[in-house]
């Protein structure tokens, strides 16, 4: 031992000089140190922005987040009405909940001190427990940092100018890889299922696709929708409007994923193999169905599965109703419905073609012959434009026009076409015409943002060179020298705000008459149902109001308990998925009515 190492013994004493130094102690709680700008403290939730998707609750590995009902917040479309509550006896401040929040409503604040003797007081409802914390937010998510995937896997499409050359399908569909990637974006909240008229099990089949089990996906889809291929291609997809991802990004491509699932089964036999439906023993009950549209076929399919003896009466020579010939081929190939009907027939659905109720068989006859009747007649008659010279050659209703084209018959649209209306049918008419090389103008009363057609359709039309003339009110069709259409006269309109707070009305501007030269005028302002088959004696029970059949309960039962109705003739939304939903609900109703379950 070195006793003479004085330096080593005395040098440390230099530390005594620290006596004169000011202590660097933080004088908490009398003074508080600044917390970092991205400190992860207690939660805050913007209750207005939150949609209650529950993704935070799912990601939480500590099961700390519960979704609960909160006073003043009710469920609506795209909002489950639930809000997260954090158990601070579980939370570990990892902020994964913030990272996955699709809306960005959840964030962490700079507050972190919560001290109490009560162990039961650690349930914390962000946003309710700390309403003032909004200004104190620190750890937030923005779209770049969030783990929610806001970018949709782009769908491969034909180029706009390429499309108009043929009726080839515009949308090319996802490859397997793309579908898996797209399916991974889904957070499985189920907000979509809630708004789907048919309540398809969207999270489940998307998850099945994400996990690579396409067969299971198809099976889940067929659970309550026998027309997935059609829905996969042309559905109005209200589901995507409420998708949780859509709040800050692009909605999950639910429709395209469904389409991908159906593409794995290209034939009726394949469908049967995959879906492998369990057909119940015949229960001896018979059901008659009027109309082989989506509603009727859906009802028939599920009734057949439940062991009913089902017969469909169809006035046309083909099944499928409006979906068969009402949709242009570039959106929806013709053989799809045929395949579907083939599949349905293979499980025991009987269809009597060319049999119009009221003409070939009376409704009374049916009423006595069957234990229950489902009416799915749809809208057959197009609304007339109600303007001069509507009946001359060259002026045609869009549904008829599409029907002609899809059957493969020819129709000469000429060089210039005017389409009247703003719905999907109008756009279809326009885009079909564009494929015949015509210069197409759509006349619509309101603004583009108010067009009822899908934005994708509108965009597609614009890409294909269709011109949209907005705020125009047609006044008359001009008869040309050969007795055919030579032009259309319309008035410019201005939007006048509604005094009652409704949406603005277009009001024609006096003297703004304009003439648009055209060879064909396609009217697409809507359709209506034909009730001539319904005998007067039944009209007392089965109420018809403004052209719609009135149903009395959620099972689509009409005033006559034996008669169920669905589809466009019942449903205001008038789209295929609603018709399918009506059919499906009617099946439940009929089962309940006839079997009591």
């Amino acid at each position: 031992m070195n006793f003479f190492d004085l330096k080593g013994l005395l040098q440390p004493l230099g530390a005594v000089k620290q006596l004169g130094k000011k202590p660097h102690t933080i004088n908490y709680p009398y003074e508080t140190k600044r917390t970092a700008d991205r400190y992860r403290g207690l939660h805050y939730n913007d209750l207005e922005v939150c949609i209650g998707c529950g993704n935070c609750s799912t990601i939480c590995q500590n099961a700390a987040i519960d979704m609960i009902n909160i006073d003043g917040i009710t469920a609506k479309n795209g909002d489950s009405g639930l809000r997260p509550r954090v158990d601070n006896g579980r939370c570990c401040w990892c902020a994964l909940c913030v990272e996955v929040c699709p809306t960005g409503s959840l964030s962490l604040t700079k507050d972190y001190i919560y001290v109490t003797p009560d162990a039961n007081a650690f349930l914390w409802t962000p946003g309710v427990s700390n309403p003032d914390a909004k200004n104190n937010i620190s750890f937030t998510s923005d779209t770049n940092l969030s783990l929610s995937m806001y970018q949709r896997v782009p769908m491969r499409e034909l180029d706009g100018m390429e499309r108009v050359k043929s009726f080839a399908e515009v949308v090319l569909g996802y490859s397997e890889e793309e579908a898996r990637a797209e399916a991974q974006r889904c957070i499985s909240c189920g907000l979509c299922s809630n708004v789907c008229p048919d309540h398809m099990h969207i999270p489940e089949y998307i998850n099945a696709i994400a996990q690579g089990n396409d067969n299971d996906a198809l099976k889940i889809i067929y659970d309550n929708n026998p027309f997935p291929e059609m829905c996969g291609k042309v559905c109005t997809r209200r589901c995507e409007d409420v998708c949780a991802i859509q709040v800050r990004g692009e909605a999950v491509a639910i429709r395209w994923l469904k389409r991908y699932a159906t593409e794995t089964a290209p034939t009726a036999q394949k469908i049967k193999d995959i879906v492998n439906p369990i057909i119940a023993e015949p229960n001896g009950k018979t059901v008659g169905i009027i109309g082989a549209g989506p509603a009727g076929l859906t009802a028939a399919y599920y009734l057949a599965l439940r062991g009913f003896d089902v017969t469909i009466y169809e006035a046309q020579s083909y099944a499928g109703g409006m979906t068969m010939f009402g949709i242009p081929k570039y959106r929806f190939p013709l053989d799809s419905v045929k395949k579907q009907v083939e599949y349905m027939e293979s499980i025991g659905v009987k269809i009597k073609y060319n049999t119009k109720v009221g003409r070939d068989i009376s409704f009374e006859e049916m009423h006595t012959a069957y234990d229950a009747i489902f009416v799915g007649i749809g809208f057959q008659k197009a609304w007339t434009l109600g303007i001069e010279n509507e009946d001359i050659p060259g002026c045609i209703a869009a549904v008829d026009y599409l029907n002609i084209i899809n059957r493969g018959d020819s129709f000469d649209v000429g060089k210039k076409v005017a389409v009247i209306g703003g719905g999907n049918v109008a756009i279809d008419g326009a885009r079909v015409s564009a494929r015949y090389g015509a210069e197409v103008t759509i006349l619509y009363r309101r603004r583009i943002s108010e067009m009822p057609a899908d934005w994708e359709e509108i965009e597609g039309a614009e890409h294909e060179g269709v011109h949209i003339a907005i705020q125009t009110i047609p006044t008359r069709i001009i008869k040309g020298e050969n007795g055919k259409v030579s032009g259309i006269e319309y008035l410019k309109a201005e939007m006048i705000a509604d005094e009652n707070g409704g949406r603005p009305r277009p009001v024609a501007i006096e003297g703004s008459e304009t003439i648009l030269e055209c060879d064909t005028v396609i009217g697409a302002i809507g359709q209506e149902a034909d009730y001539s088959w319904l005998p007067e004696s039944f009209k007392a029970k089965i109420e018809i109001k403004r052209g719609m059949m009135i149903v009395t309960n959620e099972f689509n039962q009409t005033g006559d308990p034996k008669v169920f109705a669905g589809g466009d003739a019942v449903n205001k939304t008038a789209d295929a998925i609603s018709a399918i939903a009506d059919g499906y609900m009617a099946v439940k109703g009929i089962s309940k009515f006839l079997l009591g379950n």
Binding site: P29, Q61, G89, R90, C91, T116, P117
Partner: protein
């Protein structure tokens, strides 16, 4: 003779005793879980808990405050109970973080308890995983408030409800090789 502060009436002797207890908290040096990592910063120069009269005590006999710094493995629980019972009255328990409240991130672990107050009485819970030094100090301040108001009597509750606590403890500690109580 009584003295009234913050609407709490106390005999003057008790008031003085509580005042002393409040300002002199000996903390048992027992790092039972993760939270122990924030004890050194709390005790050292930057946060300096000694300002409040909080200082470390090496053995349970000398300690007033037992810090349960987070999760308790069942094996630790046994030692904690032993330590707690060795401490002298009045004694206090401060529980740190989520784990002591409802299991925290180990709620599904087969080896950690979920709710501490089933096994030993807890006076103050501090929120966090883990609580920062500021939060720890807040916890102590809360404890001081309780002591000053004469409300920190959880240790008495433990003695009164010993059977209930024992039952819970023995449910987890299967092999009870401890003296039954060691005041």
């Amino acid at each position: 003779m009584t003295i009234t502060e913050n609407n709490i009436k106390q005999p003057i002797g008790e008031y003085i005793q509580n005042w002393a207890r409040k300002h002199s908290l000996f903390v048992l040096a027992y790092g039972t879980g993760c939270g122990a990592i924030e004890i050194p910063p709390t005790m050292t120069s930057r946060y300096d808990a000694e300002r409040f009269g909080i200082r470390g005590a090496a053995t349970p006999r000398q300690a007033d405050v037992l810090l349960i710094t987070g999760y308790l493995a069942t094996k630790s629980l046994k030692r904690v109970i032993r330590v707690y019972e060795q401490m002298q009255d009045p004694k206090y328990v401060i529980a740190f973080g989520s784990c002591t409240i409802n299991g925290g991130m180990y709620y599904d672990s087969y080896n950690t308890i979920n709710a501490l107050d089933r096994y030993i009485p807890v006076d103050v819970y501090i929120n966090g995983c883990m609580p920062r030094p500021e939060a720890v100090i807040s916890g102590f301040v809360e404890l001081q408030k309780q002591i000053a108001s004469g409300n920190a009597y959880n240790a008495t509750k433990y003695k009164e409800n010993l059977e209930w606590y024992r039952e819970n403890q023995k449910k987890i500690i299967k092999n009870w090789r401890m003296p039954d109580y060691n005041w």
